[in-house]
């Protein structure tokens, strides 16, 4: 303890002498090497493409074109047009790209003794950023009317926000994780690498096999599996699972689709198991549609697939709605003892 105190004292004395030396008039050719605490960090423009304008703080309504080398202070608003973007850096740890058709504001950019604090306000459009933590911790947040992106030790993340529609996308392409806050629902969602979250606030795993868009179509043209998937997330077919969670959904698939789903789950490495819960399902149900439902043509020995770790989030529409025509379904069949397997 005593040795540590001695070392600290010596270090402090050395630091004090260094400050004294630096306080003396420096030669004309020597650049400044220190930066005082709580100093505002200017955003230095590195690259400009197309038409990009900035509004300096205190000069509302006066927009000037952005040029490479410009130093934009906190409080500056930036807006871009079509086919335009701008990249600027904040100190040597943070890179921000303002994409096309975007309006954003540098709310705060300063360095304190503990951290480098950056606050970006995104009115609408898309902003991507990368942060490399060095000796000083980085506190980086992008705030928009629809959502807030808070960074937790990562780089190469982005947020897209749309005005009036409440749509947004928070994505992470690099390592680490970010946290997205949906202002409408006050939900938090952690976004991991190579994932993104939208206003639906569900994550969807990065698996190309399940990444397809199922548009609203007449049920006559869709298999039962497609209808069940389309019931999820407003017709997009996307579903996500919290890592480590085990959820259950019940759906009806015909034989071939069931085999395809089983193969897909096996290829994805998701553990699942075939079970026969022994519940009953309604073979004759048409739910008032006069046919063209996933249950039409259902024979008593058609199996369903059940996975221990499926790929649908709890409380999603696939669980509660089960079919594009909506409403919860409970099945009872006149044929006692028919097997039914649900996705678990």
């Amino acid at each position: 303890m005593f040795h540590k105190l001695v070392r600290l004292t010596v270090f402090t004395l050395l630091l004090g002498s260094a400050e004294t030396v630096l306080a003396q008039p420096a030669p004309a050719t020597a650049p400044a090497t220190t930066q005082p605490d709580d100093a505002a960090l200017p955003a230095v423009v590195q690259q400009v493409q197309g038409k990009v304008f900035y509004e300096a703080p205190g000069q509302a309504g006066t927009w000037q074109p952005v040029k490479v080398g410009d130093r934009l202070m906190p409080g500056t608003r930036i807006r871009t047009m079509f086919r335009s973007s701008v990249i600027f850096t904040l100190s040597d740890t943070t890179v921000v790209k303002v994409d096309k058709v975007t309006v954003m504001r540098i709310n705060d950019a300063r360095r304190t003794a503990e951290a480098e604090r950056v606050r970006i306000g995104l009115e609408y459009g898309e902003v991507r950023a990368g942060v490399a933590e060095r000796e000083i911790r980085s506190d980086f947040t992008i705030d928009s009317p629809n959502a807030t992106l808070a960074r937790r030790g990562t780089h190469d993340f982005g947020i897209y926000s749309e005005r009036m529609t409440r749509r947004f996308t928070v994505s992470l392409a690099g390592d680490g994780l970010v946290q997205a806050l949906n202002h409408l629902s006050n939900q938090y969602r952690t976004v991991y690498a190579r994932q993104q979250v939208t206003e639906a606030m569900v994550r969807w795993i990065n698996q190309a096999k399940f990444d397809w868009f199922v548009s609203i179509q007449p049920t006559e043209g869709m298999t039962s599996l497609e209808q069940s998937v389309a019931a999820n997330q407003g017709g997009s077919g996307r579903g996500v699972l919290d890592p480590g969670a085990s959820i259950q959904i019940n759906t009806v698939v015909d034989g071939n689709a069931g085999l395809n789903l089983q193969t897909a789950l096996e290829d994805a490495g998701l553990p699942f198991e075939m079970t026969v819960p022994g519940r009953l399902f309604n073979q004759a149900g048409s739910f008032g549609l006069g046919g063209a439902t996933p249950l039409d043509g259902l024979v008593k020995d058609q199996p369903l697939l059940r996975g221990r770790r499926g790929f649908f989030a709890p409380r999603n529409r696939l669980v509660t709605r089960l079919h594009p025509d909506g409403g919860a379904r409970s099945f009872r069949s006149r044929h006692i003892g028919q097997p039914r397997v649900g996705l678990r």
């Binding site: 197309g50 304008f53 927009w63 058709v101 609408y124 005005r163 009036m164």
Partner: protein, 210 residues
């Protein structure tokens, strides 16, 4: 009311809906506080259009030209309509009025033309000559995730329109439309600009602005 009368009324209503030139779109009754024709492109897009609860046809035409060319050099609705018509981005048969609220189908059609999307079989066979042109264009943009949802006859807000154009611009950058040669528009006053169309190539999926 007998069955015959009911049938006549229903048929009349259907015919009126088909023959009505203005469809279901409303019109803007209150003019904006600032005349957007006096604004530059950036101010029009970021200060005016994005704040509009419903976009008019004239505003949509103006922003379509900005998306297509990077700037709008026209000064009136007539000039914009003429410029877009020459390039096949709109159809005069729609008979749209400048203060009329633009619908998603019209916006989708313009975006598809500007982005040079050929579309599927239905759009090529039917939409190319007018039958369901806007509806198929909307379905094409939904498939490409440029438009999220909505029917072709619904009006559109400024914020949503800007979002659609944002994704359309991204598509144009990825597909190389930005770097493609501009479509040669024949000039009625210069016969030399009229070129004999070449024979269609045999390659599959050829891209064309028409």
């Amino acid at each position: 009311m007998t069955y015959g009368k009911r049938q006549i009324v229903h048929t009349g209503m259907c015919l009126a809906a088909v023959l009505c030139p203005f469809g279901c779109a409303g019109t803007r009754t209150t003019p904006p506080a600032v005349d957007y024709n006096t604004l530059d492109d950036a101010a029009f897009l970021h200060d005016h259009l994005v704040n509009q609860p419903l976009v008019t046809v004239d505003e949509a035409y103006k922003v379509a030209l900005i998306l297509a060319d990077g700037e709008d050099t026209t000064e009136s609705f007539t000039e914009r309509e003429s410029a877009l018509d020459r390039r096949g981005i709109i159809r005069p048969a729609w008979n749209l009025q400048p203060d009329q609220h633009v619908d998603k189908g019209t916006v989708a059609f313009m975006v598809c033309r500007i982005c040079r999307m050929s579309g599927g079989i239905n759009r090529i066979m039917l939409g190319s000559w007018g039958l369901g042109d806007r509806r198929y264009a909307l379905r094409e943009l939904k498939f490409r995730r440029i438009i999220e949802s909505g029917a072709d006859y619904t009006p559109i807000s400024g914020g949503e329109l800007v979002g659609i154009l944002h994704r359309a611009d991204s598509y144009m950058a990825l597909s190389g439309v930005h770097d493609a040669e501009p479509v040669a528009v024949p000039d009625a006053n210069d016969p030399s600009t009229f070129k004999t169309p070449a024979a269609p190539s045999q390659g599959a999926g050829g891209r064309s602005s028409r």
